[in-house]
């Protein structure tokens, strides 16, 4: 294909956007940044899809009154990818809104956006609700199973007084 024209540059841009989005998705540890990376990835994919029906000399698929229909048909870009991308953009907005709602809820509950902290706290919550002990090495004291971060987060959060009491109980039993 001819990579020198406008198509080539825009195509490279689309692939670059997809790459940036994927790299951001893998490398960031903040859930909100992951959603932003998803948005970039999505726009790259949409641009890539639109380019499938694009040629440099094409015009927008809209009939003007002075066009003869048969002539204009050959000049126009393919309208089907454009209609598909319109669909994809709206669905993307829905997905982003849902992700944002989940992030808001996570932030309100765990008071952090860091993936590893969220995972740790979720594991602890799951284990606590189901009466399962978290896996830990035999040498480590019980109070180290929950990392320092979680205890600090809970001390700033007054909702979790019950959980804090549990921690103190565990600590007390270890000390005793």
């Amino acid at each position: 294909m001819n990579m020198t024209g406008v198509e080539g540059i825009v195509l490279l841009g689309a692939i670059g956007l997809i790459m940036i989005g994927l790299a951001g998705l893998f490398m960031s540890n903040n859930v909100f940044r992951m959603v932003l990376a998803l948005v970039i990835l999505e726009s790259g994919a949409n641009l890539f899809l639109i380019l499938a029906g694009f040629h440099g000399l094409g015009i927008a698929p809209i009939f003007l009154s002075n066009h003869a229909i048969s002539d204009a048909g050959h000049m126009m870009n393919d309208p089907i990818p454009q209609a598909l991308v319109l669909t994809a953009i709206v669905i993307g907005v829905g997905v982003q809104a849902l992700a944002l709602a989940l992030i808001l809820k996570i932030k309100a509950h765990y008071n952090t956006l860091d993936m590893s902290e969220i995972r740790q706290q979720m594991e602890y919550d799951l284990a606590k609700n189901n009466d399962v002990t978290l896996p830990a090495s035999a040498q480590s004291p019980d109070s180290l199973v929950r990392s320092k971060v979680i205890c600090q987060a809970e001390q700033t959060q007054p909702d979790h007084i019950q959980a804090k009491a549990d921690v103190q109980q565990i600590g007390g039993s270890v000390n005793g």
């Binding site: 294909m1 997809i18 790459m19 790299a23 809209i62 048969s70 709206v90 829905g94 849902l98």
Partner: protein
């Protein structure tokens, strides 16, 4: 390690896409159905904008499915965040409105945004634009006061009424087409809704009506979504503020 593998994966995918793209015959139409639709749509649908013809006539059921996806997303956000809690919260004691200039700016912007939004919806079958784009602009027009005035709230009941009515109108027009022995959701020309001449406002039969319903539904859906998220954030910040006061 995770970073390195992520970079490797995205680089590899970019290389793969590039290789695939160099083998594509760019410039030649990949799908012949596109050029067929371009030739046939002025006669069959009568809309000057071929993308609008595809979206509402050739792929109308797809658009209905898309509307239901958007509805599911809005319902999911409402379910996760829940807007009942926000109504129990008393209005803010502290007025932190964002000042005279932005208040007056909003008052000027809203009529303008409404006009532009409805213009884009009504001319969707003639110019680039249509129900989705115009609907988003309408949603912004209703959401702007929530951003600027701290005590402004969107009425969720009115939003859900508009949303339900627009969705019902969209489906009813689709069913109406079946009375004239046409497929479900296909725009048709009959009586008041003439085919008209290509490129005039009163053309393309029921397609502008379908686009209006689509635009209103998208606008109401998005405004409701944004309002739910804003309500939740306001409740959260108020909650943390009152906690700070007690401490």
């Amino acid at each position: 390690m995770r970073n390195v593998s992520g970079l490797l994966f995205s680089g590899g995918l970019a290389f793969l896409l590039l290789v695939i793209a160099t083998h594509l015959p760019f410039g030649q139409p990949l799908m012949l159905v596109g050029s067929d639709i371009i030739q046939a749509s002025p006669h069959e649908v009568g809309s000057a904008n071929v993308v609008a013809a595809i979206l509402l006539a050739y792929r109308g059921i797809d658009t209905l499915g898309e509307l239901s996806i958007l509805f599911t997303a809005a319902a999911g956000v409402g379910l996760i965040l829940g807007h009942r809690a926000s109504q129990n919260v008393p209005p803010t004691q502290v007025k932190n409105n964002s000042g005279f200039i932005s208040q007056k700016g909003i008052e000027l912007m809203i009529p303008l945004l409404l006009v532009v939004g409805f213009y884009i919806i009504f001319y969707g079958h003639l110019t680039p634009g249509g129900g989705f784009q115009g609907g988003v602009i309408l949603a912004i027009a209703f959401f702007l006061p929530v951003l600027v005035q701290s005590d402004a709230r969107l009425d969720h009941n009115i939003i859900s009424i508009i949303e339900g009515l627009a969705g019902a109108v969209f489906i009813l027009i689709g069913l109406w087409a079946m009375f004239y022995e046409r497929p479900f959701l296909q725009p048709f020309f009959n009586g008041l809704f003439a085919k008209g001449t290509l490129g005039e406002l009163w053309s393309a039969g029921t397609l502008p009506l379908l686009y209006l319903a689509l635009g209103l539904k998208v606008g109401a859906e998005l405004a409701g979504l944004l309002a739910t998220i804003a309500d939740f954030s306001i409740t959260e910040t108020q909650g943390s503020l009152s906690e700070d006061d007690t401490q």
